[in-house]
Symmetry: none
Subunit: 228 residues, 2 copies
DNA sequence: GCAAATTAATGATTTATTCAAG
DNA sequence: CTTGAATAAATCATTAATTTGC
């Protein structure tokens, strides 16, 4: 078997160190020129080609993201569990207090919870990873208009609290108008329109029917359209 | 120029990851409670409101359905094609058996598809063992990218230094670009990728490589040309 | 200790997605 | 709406670590 040339590149420790250094230093997706230079430099420490450098950065970045994603997912699951537990407790407490047989549809035991956790300012954007792609999407104009027009005819109803029903209405609306929209992010797009829609969503209140059981994919808007 | 005040929500990568994680995890149409919880949690990673979460799930579900539809359609077409193919084969076989002189009334409408022209399939992956060109690796994204970036030199660092194997790669790219892959069965083929396609015409001869070393449990009928 | 067997890491390819130009 | 460029995600395949039975 001869030199048994290995079929794939195996980075030397020096090469690895340098690559990681560069990655930590901010180089996540080197362009052709950078790849050339890096390759040239690393070739001092062992056999290497441009494609190796290219692949290395690709893989490293991807696996970084993967790790981060897993961590966040786990974290989130935990938090969700905690919240549900709290919710459950709270609900029991409430029922005990009022001896309610059937819980009122619009009570919002969660309100203080979500409010207390919400006002965090955008943190650690740069810390976790360099963000290569800021995805945005834009709400379909048609849908938006529909939403706005939905609000107008019913001034008295949606007035205050409980988003319990706006979501249902929205769902139905969306389902009917299931057409998709063109993505296209334009940051300088209409400012004028948003305020109107904003009114529609009173975030301060949460509608919630106590059901709150875990995920179900189906049409759960069967029940209380109750609204108002 | 205040950077802020974009009229739309722009999800941070963390938010996006978590949302997708949850979607994959089964949450397709979160109810009000879930939306509130999700919103609360995601607000740790950036500005966000309930409506954003709501819209996100709506859009994501819609586009998922869309995608699924397309895929199914394609799949169906493929299946139908295969059935026709089989039918054709059967018919040929029948004709052969009975030594029918008269040409079949219809010639396969599929003959242009190279499905019927695949007596041998070229793996084009793996060892490749080519003696001719020093380093071969398929025209891939790396090369494409290199080519692109060569044409419009990247700003900043001048591409002054280092030729090294760069020249070699370039020449190789040129070679591959000029004289495309040898087989040339069908210019539109491009996805003959042998291992995945189920073989209507069993290749019989390939599929065995010495590969004695290091066997994984994987079903390895890929790789390695081995000439027939 | 030490190979064969398993498992984990990671290099290399392929496939799917996203954005935007035509 | 279609298409191309860019690239992220998923997958394949090989090498290194490690476990395991002797």
């Amino acid at each position: 078997m001869s030199p048994a040339a290995s079929s794939r590149w195996c980075p030397t420790p020096e090469q690895l160190m340098i690559l990681e250094e560069m990655y930590r230093g901010g180089i996540k997706t080197p362009n052709a020129t950078q790849i050339q230079q890096i390759t040239a430099h690393l070739s001092c420490y062992g056999k290497i080609e441009g494609k190796n450098v290219f692949y290395w950065f690709q893989n490293h970045k991807a696996r970084d993201r993967q790790k981060l994603r897993r961590k966040l997912a786990k974290q989130f699951q935990q938090q969700q569990l905690q919240q549900q537990q709290m919710l459950f407790q709270q609900q029991n407490f409430h029922n005990l207090l009022h001896r309610v047989e059937s819980p009122p549809p619009y009570s919002s035991p969660l309100r203080h919870l979500s409010l207390s956790t919400s006002p965090t300012i955008f943190p650690q954007r740069g810390v976790l990873e360099d963000v290569s792609s800021p995805y945005t999407w834009k709400m379909d104009h048609y849908k938006e208009r529909m939403i706005n027009e939905m609000e107008r005819p019913t001034p008295g109803t949606a007035g205050s609290s409980y988003g319990g029903d706006w979501m249902m209405m929205m769902s139905m609306m969306m389902d009917m108008a299931s057409s998709t929209s063109t993505p296209i992010c334009n940051p300088y797009d209409e400012n004028d329109r948003s305020p109107k829609t904003l009114q529609l969503f009173p975030i301060t209140s949460t509608g919630l029917k106590d059901e709150s059981t875990s995920s179900k994919t189906a049409t759960d808007f069967s029940s209380s359209s109750s609204t108002i």
